[in-house]
Symmetry: D3
Subunit: 315 residues, 6 copies
């Protein structure tokens, strides 16, 4: 009996006990008329189908996303691994497990990353943009640190928003220097730091912090509007001049580049244009980083939904 063995290491015949996340919980009836529970068992390293035979509750779909202490055995079904659960108990406050081990997380040190983010904010010479960024970070530090940047597609893991924003700031710093003739560095950095601010209100989260679905305001208003509104409201509160608030709000509203991709307005000055392209670069590079491990060198992946095409892994 191994304890907390990583899902990616499980093999047929393993006897396992440990804390895992149960997902997609469904109560079903077998062809023989017996009730059973069907779900997935996952941790930060992967996911596997699972069954708990002769089970009719109390666990149900509403418990999806929760951590549980389970015991069981790994078998094979139709060529795929399947976890046969023998005992199941959802974790409570008294349980001593590492949440970070149970859900996928960005490959970064979140404290160091947040510190670097704040260093970018403090480096702005323009006091208005600096105060705006620092104030917003101060108010939303924890959520900004932990939030995934998406429900699926890319960066859909803990610290995803932080990783995405930080990578974009690094790219922005370099490109601001290269195109110094047309780019106001502090404006570009402030717009970059705040561009996905509205995601703080866009999602409903699972107990362990992953996105389960869009929140009602997320669906009805979208993060683009909510981010611009929040940046403007905080800016007004801080006495930031209207023109600067308008510039920041424009960058947030236009950062998807094209109305077809959700932009409320098209980018109309150089910093907004560049922000929308940096966002596209970081999204695309992360999509490749997540897709390429799924195929062999010299081969194409299956169709990648976030790109709507197959992509090639160079030998």
């Amino acid at each position: 009996m191994e304890f907390n063995k990583a899902v990616s290491d499980l093999a047929v015949g393993d006897q396992v006990e440990g804390y895992y996340v149960l997902g997609n919980i469904l109560l079903k009836t077998s062809s023989a008329g017996k009730p059973f529970l069907s779900c997935t068992v996952s941790d930060a390293t992967g996911s596997m189908d699972a069954k708990l035979w002769n089970y009719s509750g109390p666990a149900g779909p509403g418990d999806s996303g929760k951590a549980a202490l389970i015991r069981g055995e790994v078998t094979s079904y139709n060529g795929n691994l399947q976890f046969i659960i023998q005992r199941l108990r959802f974790a409570g406050p008294q349980d001593d497990y590492d949440p970070a081990a149970l859900v996928p997380a960005a490959p970064i040190d979140p404290e160091a990353a947040m510190a670097e983010l704040e260093k970018y904010a403090k480096s702005m010479e323009d006091g208005d943009y600096r105060r705006l960024c620092i104030t917003i970070l101060d108010r939303h530090r924890e959520a900004f640190t932990r939030l995934p940047a998406a429900k699926s597609m890319h960066h859909a893991f803990l610290y995803g928003l932080l990783m995405h924003t930080l990578n974009m700031l690094r790219a922005a710093e370099g490109l601001a220097s290269l195109y110094g003739e047309v780019i106001h560095r502090d404006l570009l950095l402030a717009g970059t730091l705040l561009h996905d601010l509205g995601k703080l209100w866009e999602y409903n989260l699972s107990p362990l912090g992953l996105v389960t679905e869009y929140s009602t305001p997320g669906d009805l208003l979208g993060h683009i509007y909510m981010g611009a509104r929040e940046a403007e409201n905080v800016g007004r509160e801080l006495g930031i001049p209207e023109e600067k608030r308008t510039l920041i709000a424009h960058m947030i509203l236009s950062h998807h580049g094209d109305p077809e991709y959700g932009a409320a307005v098209v980018p109309q000055f150089a910093e907004a244009e560049l922000l929308s392209l940096i966002d596209r670069i970081d999204s695309r590079m992360e999509i490749y980083a997540e897709a390429l491990p799924q195929t062999q060198p010299g081969r194409f992946t299956l169709r990648v939904p976030a790109l709507d095409k197959r992509v090639f892994r160079i030998d």
Copy 2:
């Protein structure tokens, strides 16, 4: 010498004095090397090209849109009427003229229309939507009454926003009753009343109240975002529940129906869907009302830019 003769009544040979609006002012040089002023002379009934010979200032392009007392004679040039200005003085506070006679205005009584608008607001049984609408009307009464609804295209005249909003409320009232099974009347009416609220900040106006161009926030943020933001901010101030604020903001954000036409999000509930269609109906009907007088019964107009097609006037 006739005084304040309507532009639409002017004919070759008329000797005229009166208050008119000068537009498109340019300072030019004739082929003989003489300086002259080229402009348009207009009032609420129409517009005519004009020249002031041997003139090099001080009037210039920045005076376009101002009222002036002018004297001159109507001549013909290349088959079109042309006003030869002999004397020109811009109107000041001491001048006694009727601004309403100088710019086109909606064919409505603005006070009666505003009263009807408020009656719709007060008729709402839902106290939240009612307070929101009444508060916003109270704060912006004058601007909401006078503003054109566009720079060109349709409703580009004084009281245009009021006329457009009121007509839509009348249509909304009738359709809410017809589709009572899926439409919450007060929500539809509140969304209709507020849908173009953001236009209050979208334009720069001429001295006499017409739209000369978009304001910087109008260009960079758009009336859709600014209207939703204002409605939400006032709603929060009034203690309106978040869900209702979200519904109103969604209706404003989605009232253009399709991202291709400027919607920040697509309509996602029945009242938002219906609002976007009522807006289309009122816009289209007004475009026809403005276009059809330009052709004869049984004939097609020239291409109407706002529709991107020629339209037929029934015999």
Copy 3:
């Protein structure tokens, strides 16, 4: 044993006998090699999967859509209800059952609705449009009353065409009065009454009157062309002036608004433009009315195919 119990009221363990419609009839073989019949059992209130074990005919796919007297028991399979048929006999002329109870129907009184439709027709002051509408209604009264307005999407039930046309006439009456300056009421009402006339030839119907598939002319010519052709032919026969026939035909040809949605030409006068928007309003409102009951207040539906989006049911 209950008789003719509504499908929406059936529960596990019910013993039932009654008249129901059988749909999607397939003859299959079980994994044990036994023949059985798989189908749906439905009435106006809903539908349920059903099985008739050890059955190899004579019923087959060609009997789908027919009423039958069946006896059996309601069971549960994989969490869903399943009707186990024990006896089955298709209904013949001698059977005494209410067809209206077996297929979904518009929530209207068809006779009163047809009377209201005719009142609109008779209210036209223009004798040409009046005669055209009344003549066509007279010739096709029964089909016009009973026909669904679609195979799926919306109004796909008995009296659907009548309900859709009548609702649009009511909206047209109100909007014609609001936009009296540009709208000729009788023309708008005549075009509205006749706009879906071609649907009379567009479908093949099940024995109980629902649309099973498009007819060959429905597929190859479409209801838009067939409706315009019929209106013109009847108009010529009645001596209606060519220009009026052309206006009516244009309204039918253009009522989908855009070639992308099937319009043969784009609307080119105000009544045609308004008709296409009223059609869109009534279609959309009915889609919401059919979709919202499928979710809870405060929640989104699944993707609605007819709208290609999820929609929100307000709390």
Copy 4:
């Protein structure tokens, strides 16, 4: 003084008298205040700008497209030839001139071409399609012979419809033989012969037979609908079976291939698909034939409006 000299042969200094067509007639005032008539002078070989000084009527825009007996001199203005008219009289019944010399015509013998068209019609083994084609040709022989196939773009000359239809029949004959496995020759030929039938009612014509503008039914209904309607009505009158009438009507309705290009429905059987491609081939080849003479071998033309691109003339 030369008589009826071809416009394409005129040179500076020529003294000319003869019958020409006047087009784009406008009455203007010179900068010196003198009235004059501005127009074009054209015959089948080309067109030239013209002026008639000190003229204020009675000729006016409504006379555009008429033949006139004119006398004058060819001069040069700004590098282009200009015809200075000295005398002008519109031609009446007593005038003896050759209309065919005055307007561009297809480079075919119209009688021989019509005979070949009828030979194709008579060659059909299917008596229904044969009767339908022959009857329609008999009823509209003269219009079908003389009509241009367009207002501009391509085939916009006398006999244009005939030339276009005949070329397509020749191509159809060859391709029907090549794809005999899927193509019913008689159906393809009948659809081809009748595909532009509706053009007989689509245009208003100048006195000499060119298209001046769309007719009201041409604009509001389009030739596609009118052609299908006529073919169906004649077919019904002749007792042609409904299925065959439907096939022919479908081919006419779908021959533009795509709703974006005006098709009322998309082609749904092989003959309709092939017809739409033969139509595209003949249109494109004629556009090239008309465009290439406007440039030198080895050079590109200016943008060709009918193709929305520049095209290359091979050396």
Copy 5:
């Protein structure tokens, strides 16, 4: 026991031995935990699902597309035929079977077709185009003869490229004669003969010559680029003038007509334009030829993927 019985002739109960192609090979586990092989058994006449019970290798997915000698019995499963394999051995060099009987092939005599292709090449009066075509045919004769023209969609069988190219040459010959005024016959024929040349490098082939998937250069570069490059390189080697090489390369690069369909540039001279339309005709006619046998006269097919629509089989 019948030997090599055609798949399309197999019926329940047949005892069969013979050479067939195995496709979609998968190793699975039954619900009873027993390993088995699932695959298809096919020859040139059709395909059927098959099972080999209690089999765990050595055959596997990598053997898909190979010929094998199999013995077994035809049964029925869920209404479809199923081949139960009893013995299985992949064919080796010593096996005496007819590969042409095992995979679908174009209904042409490949030698006669290739001879006709060469006759077209030799018939060119322009020595440059003639040499280019003959040289390329000489170098790639075998591949050009055997290659399918696609992985699926149309012409996805042996000799498909040859059949497609030859049919297009026949159509090109006829149309070049009809449009001799704008079409240079030899250029049209050379471009037609070479238009799909790049397909020689676009696919990976199964042991029996069908396309299994795109090659890496096929995916990354596409046949359009590779064909133009090859034609240019051979042309340079042969000393063909640059302008002619450019014309041929342009025809290859543009033969899909529109960038949306893969064209690298749009057709810019008449021969390229006509080639793209002939390609469309031959593709469409073949799609109909392959689709229509799947339905009854007077009925529509299911949606045809290559056309994205259902099509009608005329009675």
Copy 6:
């Protein structure tokens, strides 16, 4: 009399002699019937309309783009400056003038820039990509240094291709380091360095090196195809493995990102994807750099054709 005074410094009344470029040369006739030459006079700093009265040749349109020694005076016409040429002689080999002063040039030191480009090439650790880049630079050093990167839009000046390529290499270096997990630096740099290689054959140049129009291969084949072909041919000659040649060719073929923007294929691996975004960034930033000086801070430009929108210059 000033000599070689910069066009941007010229003012009314200046008497000037010097070397300038004449553009848009046209021979016209005045309203008084006198011949004159109309053209532009330009140098690297700007352009001005010019007239040479009473001139009928020998200079003509074919001399546009040539340097000339001219003498004359600056006057004002209709509010704009106009150069009245008094003497004109085209420059020949004996003339001593600085071509670089006569045409706009990138604000870079071309030798230093080319040296930096080569440093990037030499820095590649992969010998294949390094040899390929260095060989191509060696063969085309002068053209690669001097060529503009466009006819208009952006970088349409001397050294434009070099400046564009170098800026992209700098951005690529930074981003390759940021996204090292998915980006092979040498491949990205090689693709970047070679992406616009085909422009060497895409243009016809004026005597002083600006693009006057597309070459025939430029129009018929495009730089994307020509660049990939050249890179592949040189690569084959150097013995570079086929897979690497394919990767480089793919990056060139796909660098416009989308077929709608001219890409022959869509980017299918990470380096190609990133290259297309770096290209977009550098193009956009340069368009802003060229457009913003045309307006005041705090104002919008006129519509920028290369962006199809107006853009805002931040205060």
